[in-house]
């Protein structure tokens, strides 16, 4: 074998390094979200704390394993913008993570999935569009619940 002389191993090392750097950095920076029971309605609590009005809330059940129910909220800010958000509670960390995985594998074409899931303990919060101004307002309150 001439790999040492021809630089094959150096090239493989470079290849691995360049793949592992971004992936490793992401795994170190963003740790797994812990599973813990969140009492009450996290989205309603966050919206009210952020001064966002909950116009409507209806029960919803996602057709995925381990889902135990949640709500679809219609939110409104002081400018009259309307934003719809769904929440769903899960009975275990495994079922919650499986739902995250299922969602992440449903991208359109080669792009990203249409919406985004935010993990709050045993809840998943589905936001779409994920650039909404209302989401920006309630995100800090959701983050407090994430840390709780």
């Amino acid at each position: 074998m001439t790999q040492g002389k021809d630089g094959s191993w150096a090239v493989i090392l470079v290849l691995l390094l360049f793949f592992m750097l971004p992936i490793g950095w992401l795994l170190v920076t963003y740790t797994a979200e812990p599973y813990h029971a969140v009492s009450g309605e996290p989205l309603r609590d966050a919206a009210q704390a952020a001064g966002i009005t909950v116009v409507n809330a209806t029960d919803t059940m996602w057709p995925v394993g381990g889902a135990v129910g949640g709500k679809t909220y219609t939110l409104s800010d002081e400018s009259g913008n309307i934003y719809t958000v769904q929440t769903q509670a899960f009975d275990s960390a495994e079922s919650r993570d499986a739902a995250v995985q299922l969602h992440n594998s449903q991208s359109i074409g080669r792009g990203k999935p249409v919406g985004k899931l935010i993990i709050i303990g045993n809840y998943l919060v589905y936001v779409q569009p994920y650039t909404s101004g209302i989401l920006k307002k309630i995100a800090p309150e959701l983050r407090k619940l994430q840390a709780a």
Binding site: T2, Q86, S95, D97, A98, S105, G109, Y126, L142
Partner: protein, 481 residues
């Protein structure tokens, strides 16, 4: 025509001319037509037509025409995207383009593999979808199985894709369309409001920008047939026809099947947080044929596997050509007796396996996944920016090169088509850097810089390889059994 001669592999067998118009068209259909897009788009109701038109005008038409012109102009060169961009921008440009296409695949593979495994679980036992061991085992069977198909060369892999795409993408699409028509004719209520032209106009504002960018890349993969230039019987005539046929099949199946789903399932029941099989289950239950759900899951799984095959084989072949030309060490240069770039396929499978392991067993690393998928979008945009730039540049640098298929309209025509395509993908690139609303200001800056840095790291190795290049690389190479 060009300064370089054709570049047949230095080892292994000379390429066999086994691909005709139909086989080429099916490679593109396999890469692009995906049933998992339908429920996500059906939520938009009639508006989905407008979004599809945007994707068609800003991407599908430009990339199909660009692919047809470049593939016929460079019909004697192997490597697809690599050959096209190399002709315009030299080795650095060509190598960067093919490497971006290859490296974005490595991060995307776990996503499509998880889709395959979770869809198959629906045919066996839906609860399996939350079992990481099941997921990983099925993902690896699909991944290494598809790699094995690629190992046996063009003849085997093209047959696999031809049959697979008909069974896994076209038949399910036609079935959904037929059932949608049946639903309409049976007098059942169509859940969409009455049609009017105003209904198809998409809502364009700041909040829909990310979706706009996603729609542009909805038809990504139309360049896949270009990787098979040397195996094509009559590339100068077959490529344009294959591009046209595949574009029509993809557009028709996508629009009609999406509308069929939108006819039957109310938008609030099309839960985007769940998956395509949940929508299919609702669809078939509403049509009173629940027994069709499991067979449909099997067909959609097959569709996922052939899509994986198209993306797994094409860019690997392109990178194999880069190695054959001496731009990578001989280890990467190994071609087997079937003409497959066996070393690239194995390295690709090993890296893909490692990333899949992380994906399955660290699933709640949600933000990390989000950033990784953003990087794959950026890498893909770089590929298409280079293709459209190559299309325009070659009209200036090689104006007299024979072009059996030429985009009409002369220089204005090429700027219009190349410009529209470039605009679409540059727009998608910029929007891909936008952080989501749940990030803090500091996280938003970190996100944007992180995506840029990660994209740079995944795109830059070709420039390092070219710096490390040794004269011995071009003459080495080992034929394997």
């Amino acid at each position: 025509m060009s300064e370089d001669s054709a570049t047949p592999p230095k080892n292994g067998m000379a390429p066999q001319k086994v691909l005709g118009i139909f086989a080429l068209a099916m490679i593109n259909v396999a890469a692009v037509l995906s049933i998992r897009n339908f429920p996500s788009m059906a939520v938009y109701g009639w508006e989905c037509i407008g979004w599809y038109i945007i994707g068609t005008v800003l991407f599908l038409i430009p990339i199909s025409l660009a692919g047809a012109e470049l593939a016929t102009m460079l019909a004697d060169k192997d490597g697809g995207v690599y050959a096209w961009c190399k002709e315009a921008f030299g080795e650095k440009g060509g190598f960067t383009a093919i490497f971006c296409e290859w490296s974005n695949n490595l991060v995307w593979f776990p996503t499509v593999l998880a889709f395959i495994a979770s869809t198959l679980a629906f045919a066996i036992s839906p609860d399996l979808a939350s079992n990481p061991v099941y997921l990983f085992v099925v993902m690896m069977i699909a991944f290494w199985g598809t790699t094995a198909v690629a190992y046996f060369g063009e003849n085997v892999s093209s047959k696999f894709q031809n049959y697979g795409v008909i069974l896994g993408s076209i038949i399910p699409s036609i079935l959904i369309i037929g059932l949608g028509v049946y639903w309409s004719l049976s007098g059942a209520a169509i859940v969409l409001p009455p049609f009017s032209l105003g209904e198809i106009v998409p809502t364009l504002d700041l909040s829909t920008l990310p979706f706009f960018a996603t729609v542009i890349l909805l038809f990504a993969g139309m360049e896949m047939a270009g990787f098979h230039a040397l195996e094509t019987k009559n590339p100068k005539t077959d490529f344009p026809k294959a591009m046209a046929i595949s574009a029509v099949i993809i557009f028709f199946c996508t629009v009609m099947a999406t509308l069929a789903i939108a006819f039957v399932i109310p938008a609030d029941q099309l839960n985007l947080a769940a998956g395509v099989m949940q929508a299919i289950e609702y669809f078939f239950t509403a049509l009173n044929i629940p027994g069709a759900i499991a067979p449909m899951a099997v067909l959609i799984t097959i569709g996922g596997v052939v899509s994986l095959a198209a993306w797994l084989i094409g860019p690997a072949k392109g990178l194999g050509v880069v190695a054959n030309e001496g731009n990578m060490p001989p280890l990467f240069n190994r071609t087997n007796k079937y003409g497959s770039p066996v070393a690239v396929l194995v390295i690709q499978a090993l890296i893909g396996t490692f990333i899949s392991l992380l994906y399955v067993f660290l699933p709640s690393v949600n933000q990390a996944y989000w950033m990784l998928s953003a990087m794959t979008v950026e890498l893909l945009c770089i590929v298409y920016i280079l293709i459209f730039a190559a299309l325009i540049k070659l009209r200036y640098s090689k104006p007299d090169a024979p072009r059996p298929f030429k985009i009409p309209g002369g220089i204005p025509g090429i700027w219009l088509i190349g410009g529209m395509g470039a605009f679409g993908v540059i727009f998608a690139f910029v929007v891909g850097l936008m952080p989501t609303g749940d990030f803090t200001s500091a996280e938003a800056v970190s996100y944007t810089l992180g995506v840029l840095l990660g994209t740079f790291l995944l795109a830059v190795p070709p420039l390092i390889f070219l710096k490390m290049k040794k004269p011995g690389w071009i003459v080495s190479g080992t034929k394997e059994g």
